[in-house]
Assembly symmetry: C2
Homo-oligomer: 410 residues x 2
Amino acid sequence: MNVAILGYGVVGSGVAEVISKNADIIKKNSNVSLSLSHILDIRDFENCPFQDIMTKDFYDILNDSKVDIVVETMGGVSPAFEFVSACLKAGKHVVTSNKELVAVKGYELLEIARKKDVNFLFEAAVGGGIPIIRPISRCLAGNRISEVAGILNGTSNFILTKMITENMDFDVALRLAQEKGYAEKDPTADVEGFDALRKICILASLCFGNHVYPNGVYTEGISKITLEDVDFASSCDCVIKLIAKAKKMDDGKISLTVSPCLVKNESMLAGVNGVFNACLVRGDAVGDVVLYGQGAGKLATASAVVGDVIDCACNTKERKFFGWDEGKDDLLADYLDEEISLYVRATVESMENAVAEIAHTLGEVSFLKREKQAFDEIAFLTPAMKERELRKILAKLPLSVISTIRTVDY
Amino acid sequence: MNVAILGYGVVGSGVAEVISKNADIIKKNSNVSLSLSHILDIRDFENCPFQDIMTKDFYDILNDSKVDIVVETMGGVSPAFEFVSACLKAGKHVVTSNKELVAVKGYELLEIARKKDVNFLFEAAVGGGIPIIRPISRCLAGNRISEVAGILNGTSNFILTKMITENMDFDVALRLAQEKGYAEKDPTADVEGFDALRKICILASLCFGNHVYPNGVYTEGISKITLEDVDFASSCDCVIKLIAKAKKMDDGKISLTVSPCLVKNESMLAGVNGVFNACLVRGDAVGDVVLYGQGAGKLATASAVVGDVIDCACNTKERKFFGWDEGKDDLLADYLDEEISLYVRATVESMENAVAEIAHTLGEVSFLKREKQAFDEIAFLTPAMKERELRKILAKLPLSVISTIRTVDY
């Protein structure tokens, strides 16, 4: 099987490395022989071990009928979309690690693949090396999935972990992440939740069967989380994690959000630290399943890409049934309709008055304590009710709300 | 696709339930229609919703050419082996949840399946509903796997969790597990590690490519773990877990053990509590991956079986390449050759003398403390060295060793 790679960046070079270094084990595990035929990149690479198969011309790959499988690791929507769709239309299988491409153009590309009877696979687009897409689409195919959620961005999880375990300020932790190469110079996509959003859109599409587009979805990052919040969370045996989640509501709509959440220490998601990722899937038969590992990185992501390439090579006669239907207008619920318990931190003018009013209006409330708590500072966990109602009640209470953070029950 | 089930026990009835209840979602997810054609059981079931397809005669299934896929959920080696091999020889795909069958007869059955060009799948044999077998064999197929390990027995993990979190004695926790239906009347297979052994043998066979038979493998259970050990473990930020592990040694041999181990609290395996299971796989590209969920139970196990049934139904034209080679004589290393750090608890005649001797002989040793420690009680963590050497040194020290527990680095 001849494999071409589009883009010799971090992931692309990892894929080339794994395919060549592990050729023997790939043959033994799967009875397929993968041979690298082309690598496309507009840049020149000195001392690259794949010098003789580098090309700057995409048509070298597209027009070569001996190329069976194309790996796209360029990132971004354009020209990745044009290249991938051209390859699929030419009857080549395509594997990508490009989450933006799948989140924005997934349905369109899956449709082309269906029509041309070839595979379009993207295990690496969510959670790097962690097996997520295939376990959901195959191992859990007998389940009615009600919820999928996860820690899907390693950069923000690294920052939160430093804040929690080393009492580091957000800004300091962000600078450290940048120094270590985990965060970009412009960290917006990571810390404001947009990267996690693309991944949860892919997972929601897969779990619920219609394309969920990231456009216009409620997304909240971690840049406003403070050490005060971290301390209050800790006082009720919780940690703060950036959780991307999609839940099927009773009316069939999907409530999808990306936001910081209080996660109980006993949850498997609470132990996911540093740049690691984890994905939780809740099925009616299987219960909760958690898949954990390195969510990014050269070889981890390459591992997932190569797994997909092997799958393409093993399924040449019969295309894998895989994918989802087109999105639809009223697919998403208003997230404010979801029942949730909120963590609230606020200042008050009269503590006595505020406590009495909160207890009177909200009923069963857990008030939280932290060391060095200011005299006018209050924090509590509300009972679970529709977020819209909760917000209305909060607005009427004698509080100046500083932060509210959602909670999750897993 | 017509599916027959051998054995209408806990798992078999779960499979029947999931296939009939989730027929619509199975069709949507995988484009296959599964139809239950027979259920074999020698018992009579009143009020069973599948009364009209129950049979007591295996040949009703074997001789029916319309049965495409046979699910074996009877347990035990015989007659499961005879039934499964007859079905494979008759050209039917077989899915089993029977870990004993796969651990003892896996290679033989895989060979028959290979020759007859049908699938023999057993995702449910390890870790109940957790996707483990398929992620390893497919998603991680590009990796050279160096180690696979896990908490693979829910009963013993439930008991240890009660000991750790509620300070419950082993005997009390075992009785509780029996009351809750997690442990059998004769709990030997669970608490002495034999159940976990079968599962790690299956995983080792899959990860390293040769059948590893459970016969004669070193297995140590949890029945000798005491609350003193739990306390000392806690004092060095560890918990005690029953770990089944298989590691590829430098000489290509496999070191395979089942024994209690000290696991660092920061490890993902430390957070696996109650009857839950988790499996860790270490690959050269992917790093560490952990797969977590319900390791047993009617519907969770059925979820894995149905996933395999769907996979068979989707791969009728092309048999999935899957399996391993026959075992061989010198496949297993002597586990005493593995480098390891041991936790040691002992009594001493002279504390001063013992501490001096330990420090002198072993070098860097962490001495542990616990509340209510007896005046003659000592506990410490040794440096890592070959277990054989460590045991020799321990035997010469002025100690009466009460317990030794291995440690793991994940």
